[in-house]
Symmetry: C2
Subunit: 239 residues, 2 copies
């Protein structure tokens, strides 16, 4: 059967794809729509309209149908498929983790929901997701535990407040100097008052953290620039 030229689509019944997009546009008004009315509007059977709704739902469009009532869209915003570098994924994850800790209730819940859904959308085994469009990558996992303290630590660095922290040993008092980020792991560089030496602590290993009211000032041999010098010395020796 010879294919109709594209311009005849204006008078031909619309393709299924076109109809699906049009259904989305209509539903975006947030109102309830009955399948029979939509079917009539697109001049298809109600069975076809039910098939359409099934396909849209399977494609990830947030549609909900209720017996005795009709269809409505539950999330009117849709991001298209996004290709991310690893850095962008980390930024996305970190940003949602920060909002998940620091935002007000509604914002925190929204951030947590979104992070969970992004996590679910990126399964670890690379398996094919149920619906079309998805791709498999790696999960967010427990990285939120590592970001839990970022906000507090960063603020303490800025306001030069000492920290009392526990990792696996006894609690220690430290002067937080700088944060580093190594792909999913945050490292705190600090002067440890308890041990009298510089230390590097992974934030995800901190089990208890208290921001102390005590402030600190730079002292010779214990500042960020001293840390940098000791690193340069160590790097020089190492080769």
């Amino acid at each position: 059967m010879p294919r109709r030229p594209a311009e005849s689509r204006r008078t031909a019944p619309p393709s299924r794809t076109t109809r699906l997009y049009d259904i989305i546009r209509i539903l975006r008004d947030g109102r309830v729509h009955r399948a029979e009315a939509l079917a009539r509007r697109f001049r298809v059977s109600v069975r076809t309209l039910y098939r359409d709704m099934e396909v849209l739902a399977a494609s990830g469009v947030a549609i909900e149908g209720t017996r005795g009532r009709g269809y409505r869209m539950t999330a009117p915003l849709t991001l298209p498929p996004l290709n991310l570098s690893f850095e962008e994924l980390e930024a996305l994850h970190l940003g949602l983790a920060v909002v998940g800790e620091a935002g007000d209730d509604a914002m925190r819940q929204a951030a947590e929901r979104l992070a969970a859904r992004i996590d679910a959308a990126l399964p670890e085994d690379g398996g094919q997701p149920d619906g079309p469009g998805g791709l498999a990558l790696r999960p967010f996992g427990d990285a939120a535990a590592g970001t839990r303290h970022v906000t507090a630590v960063r603020a303490a660095i800025r306001s030069r407040q000492k920290l009392r922290m526990t990792t696996e040993g006894p609690a220690r008092t430290v002067r937080p100097l700088k944060l580093e980020y190594w792909g999913r792991i945050w490292l705190l560089n600090c002067w440890c008052e308890t041990r009298g030496d510089f230390a590097r602590e992974r934030l995800d290993a901190i089990t208890a953290l208290t921001v102390l009211p005590a402030l600190f000032v730079d002292e010779p041999g214990k500042s960020l620039s001293d840390l940098a010098r000791s690193e340069i010395g160590a790097a020089g020796e190492g080769g």
Copy 2:
């Protein structure tokens, strides 16, 4: 023509959808692959392989083909289409704005790039995007300006540090009490020492902000609970 039962797919040539997913899996190694080799591997013609690449690219998969060389994937991570509530979009945007301000250089750049691309992916006019899967909604706009001070203000609230701020009048010293979030606008509820009264300031209106070392304690009539009582009183009178 009777439809083959699903289980016979295991011995039948794979469906196009399966092949497309398999192509993505292969390309994810980051290496260059020639179309002829992929075609041989999937036992299809090279023309079909070229059609597949066109469909994958149109679906948002980050593939690039170079004449004389082959195909490779340029962004190995892909988020599928995500349906977002307005709150989730705000959380996403806020999270990226925070990382864009607070992250280290690589993280900040990644956050800014991603926010820009999300912004671009949600055009204002609600038009149908070029490829399948995407939907149009509203742009991010300039909300980052309003989030610039969130981190500092929140930390000041927690550590009970006074703030010196300028909006459109002269600089004022305030005691930050609580932050509220009203869909893209952050409001700071505070006791204004300069004016001797409670005040509500929009964070995006703050042009200069300094976190003072001075701390404050609750005083009768000037605390968060006093603010709540004054709000209840006003609400009671109003209706």
